[in-house]
């Protein structure tokens, strides 16, 4: 690779994590450019989710480096990583079921994140306007006062995406955003994702190849914690190694 380091949003170098001797991620290196949509694919157990966990601080790496805009993420706490501009969506929709859609979005609004900041946080016009704007984007404008528990599975996924959007992260990481959705919802979600990945970098884990082709700038194929292949979708699709371990069956 010959691109200047500074132009990357995210540089993952030689990232390794081992669980009692088992290396789930093994010397992984990759770089994400601004506005790139990077899709990670690979068979189950390839370490895709673990990579996201390592980047966002959920799992501690054994060795290596993850740099986000010249900040080393591996030594930071999760919340610090988030505030630095890295957003993460989980595989299963995780929203606050006891709170309303509005409140769910509000909690993600990037202000009043300290203890006392949140204690004296005021729900002013600016906050409301922003929340309503986001709700519009994620098709939930009519459901703002509904408890999140009463949303459909797809709506919960959208809500979680909305909670990320309101943070306005520079790097967005999505773990199987269309899993478990109906065909109609899937289409709507693809549309949504296409819209929101516009001016930011995104890492997506996805199995649905049609969906991947829709959105991917570049694709990384993981196998047993290592990069098996990387590049444009067309190139990866025709890589014989990839066909053997993943696409072939």
């Amino acid at each position: 690779m010959s691109i200047h380091q500074t132009s990357f949003v995210l540089s993952v170098e030689d990232l390794t994590v081992s669980f009692d001797g088992f290396k789930a991620v093994d010397g992984l290196t990759f770089y994400v450019e601004p506005n790139e949509c990077r899709v990670m694919i690979g068979p189950n157990g390839a370490g895709k989710t673990t990579v996201l966990d390592l980047i966002c601080g959920r799992t501690r790496a054994t060795s290596g480096s993850v740099r986000f805009k010249d900040q080393e993420l591996l030594t930071m706490r999760e919340d610090q990583i988030v505030l630095a501009g890295v957003g993460r969506k989980f595989q299963t929709p995780s929203v606050y079921e006891d709170l309303s859609v509005f409140e769910n979005l509000e909690l993600s609004y990037p202000r009043g994140h300290s203890v006392f900041g949140s204690l004296f946080f005021r729900r002013d016009a600016e906050v409301k306007a922003r929340i309503e704007e986001i709700a519009e984007t994620i098709f939930l404008a009519d459901l703002l006062d509904e408890k999140a528990a009463f949303l459909s599975h797809g709506q919960k996924q959208w809500l979680e995406i909305g909670m990320l959007l309101i943070q306005d992260p520079e790097l967005l990481m999505l773990d199987e955003p269309v899993a478990g959705m109906s065909v109609a919802e899937r289409k709507k979600t693809a549309e949504l994702l296409n819209r929101i990945i516009d001016h930011r970098s995104v890492i997506v884990i996805e199995h649905d190849m049609g969906f991947v082709e829709d959105i991917a700038t570049r694709v990384t194929v993981l196998h047993q914690g290592k990069t098996l292949s990387e590049g444009k979708m067309d190139k990866v699709k025709n890589d014989p190694k990839v066909i053997e371990v993943y696409l072939g069956h």
């Binding site: 966002c56 006891d98 909690l107 009043g112």
Partner: protein, 393 residues
């Protein structure tokens, strides 16, 4: 539900509930009870401080502490130390070998007041310490545990062990703490005899006033974004973390707040009962305080007050007439609440009673009736019948 989505401090319904509780505590109980019973209820209400703290920590935040007695005790001991020093004037303790120090020190051959007792000669310092000492202690425990993400059952057991340690320490260091007897025979507060009936009545109202101050503080916290964060954390801790919140510091805060409430409760207990002893610190009272909150409804701060009153009143009544039944009753209450009424009295109210009342008055009221929340996270409780009956006695 308001379409303008204003964060109101109290909804109209909640204002009614607060008003009802205020009526019970400030009017009905004092009018219906003689001085002795009123003092008893004052004692119960001092436990209610702890229960409110538990609602915030456990019900809202999902942090179950089995060591709240520690903070109750620290607040109570701070107050007791001040009162004891006031009662231990050189004149009053002239028969001791070292006059001017508390009697239990003299019995244990302590010949000078330990340095850490000295500041408790000052009422101002004591009042600060009543809150600050439990909070500082909670802060240390909280930071150590929550930073390391100790939670759930582990947190419960460790706090329980801390209660055990503190009890053994207090009992073992009797020269400085009064040991198993506690700090007893407290008489006056700045010359004002706290043992007289009038004093006890005044203390009851002071206690009730402070309780409402704490209730309002708790209500403010619940209404604030922090309150919603607590609920969010309880259900989806990781999501909160990945929304950019330092989860540990929020838990530390609410744990410290609970400790502060407990400390105030402890101090009021000391003032009203006239002594403090390690039996209020240990494992058993700590767990009993959890059951107060559970009976009232672990999600409702007002419910916690009713729960505390109800359980204690039942304890006093049952143990007066059927001492053998009391433990069985308390045990069964634990099990019943956990198994059948996890949301306690407040849950019964908002899930059973209120919807029926609404139905009863539907048609007359304006507008559609919103569905009752399955979890009364934001609802308060109304007076339960047994407590009202207690008041009527």
């Amino acid at each position: 539900m308001q379409s303008d989505r204003k964060t109101r401090f109290l909804t109209r319904e909640e204002a009614i509930y607060f008003g009802l509780l205020a009526a019970v505590i400030f009017l009905i109980l004092p009018m219906a009870l003689d001085s002795f019973r009123l003092n008893l209820f004052g004692k119960y209400l001092s436990y209610a401080f702890v229960a409110i703290g538990l609602v915030l920590c456990w019900g809202a935040g999902g942090i179950l502490s089995l060591g709240q007695g520690v903070f109750f005790g620290l607040g109570g001991y701070a107050m007791a130390m001040f009162l004891k020093l006031e009662a231990s004037t050189p004149e009053a303790t002239a028969i001791q070998s070292t006059p001017g120090i508390p009697d239990f020190m003299d019995w244990n051959q302590v010949t000078a007041l330990p340095w850490w007792w000295e500041p408790f000669n000052s009422l101002a310092f004591t009042l600060v310490a009543v809150v600050a000492v439990p909070v500082a202690f909670a802060f240390i425990i909280g930071v150590a545990m929550f930073r390391r993400r100790v939670g759930g059952v582990y947190f419960a057991i460790i706090t329980q062990a801390i209660a055990a340690i503190l009890t053994i320490l207090i009992i073992g260091q009797q020269g400085f703490t009064g040991g198993v007897n506690g700090i007893t025979d407290l008489r006056t507060l700045k010359g004002w005899d706290i043992r007289s009936d009038e004093a006890k009545e005044i203390l009851y109202f002071v206690n009730a006033g402070l309780l409402f101050a704490c209730l309002f503080a708790a209500q403010y916290v619940r209404r604030s974004k922090l309150g919603r964060l607590l609920i969010a954390m309880r259900d989806q801790e990781d999501r909160v973390r990945f929304s950019g919140y330092d989860v540990a510091s929020f838990k530390v805060f609410v744990f410290c707040l609970g400790a502060a409430f407990a400390g105030i409760g402890g101090a009021m207990f000391t003032l009203q009962v006239g002594f403090m002893s390690p039996t209020l610190v240990g494992i058993v009272p700590s767990i009993e305080m959890v059951i107060f909150a559970a009976v009232g409804g672990r999600l409702s701060i007002l419910g916690a007050v009713y729960g505390t009153l109800l359980v204690n009143w039942a304890k006093t009544t049952l143990s007066e007439s059927f001492p053998e039944l009391w433990l069985l009753g308390l045990g069964a209450l634990f099990i019943a609440v956990v198994m059948f009424f996890p949301n306690g009295l407040a849950g019964l109210w908002s899930e059973q009673v209120r919807p029926r009342l609404r139905k009863l008055f539907a048609g007359r009221g304006a507008g559609a009736t919103p569905p009752a929340a399955p979890v009364p996270a934001n609802s308060a409780s109304a007076p339960d019948r047994p407590a009202a009956k207690a008041a009527a006695e």
